[in-house]
Symmetry: C2
Subunit: 111 residues, 2 copies
């Protein structure tokens, strides 16, 4: 009956989950890798590398953009996407710090 209960959690939990969600598909991991290897990347090159249709790649790019992990400028038929390192580092450190802190407290495993 009641769906989509995500807003009942803390903002930080939602943010982290959103970040993870953006990277929860191998195509998007692959896209990030391709983008990270170049300074300027045209979408078409990504399409060539991935085993997916152009429209699907465009959709994945959109999701990564919405999540803030990449930024892109649309310049007519030629789009330039690249990784938004700032946002990426923010999440990455938030993520690792959360679990590193917890880990210190809890050296011995229980089961």
């Amino acid at each position: 009956m009641a769906f989509h209960k995500k807003e009942e959690f803390t903002q930080k939990e939602q943010d982290l989950a959103g970040f993870a969600k953006a990277m929860s598909h191998p195509a998007r991991i692959a896209i990030l890798k391709v983008l990270a290897q170049r300074n300027e990347c045209i979408c078409g090159e990504i399409v060539d590398v991935l085993p997916l249709a152009q429209s699907t790649v465009s959709q994945h790019l959109k999701e990564l953009k919405n999540a803030g992990l990449i930024s892109g400028t649309i310049d007519g038929p030629r789009s330039c996407y690249c990784i938004n390192w700032k946002a990426f580092e923010k999440f990455s450190s938030e993520f690792t710090s959360l679990f590193n802190n917890l880990k210190v407290k809890n050296e011995k495993a229980c089961c």
Copy 2:
């Protein structure tokens, strides 16, 4: 027509995506946090903390377990779950190393 193309990507990409997917819901982030704060954690305590039905929490626990992020021993009516730090660190470092390496190559942003 063709769906579920995930197997067309590298194993590493799939693994990373699977790890991210396991954490792509705030409820599962919250569960990991609760588990990390105790040495032994009974599922019921998690149910009390989360704004979700018992069956739903059980489902989330199952997903975390399938992803290898937590391990649990079922002991009759009393289950003990805890974080699988080993698997967690493996992914965590794989994850950060991937992007740290890439970042070094690519100090200047392009757009």
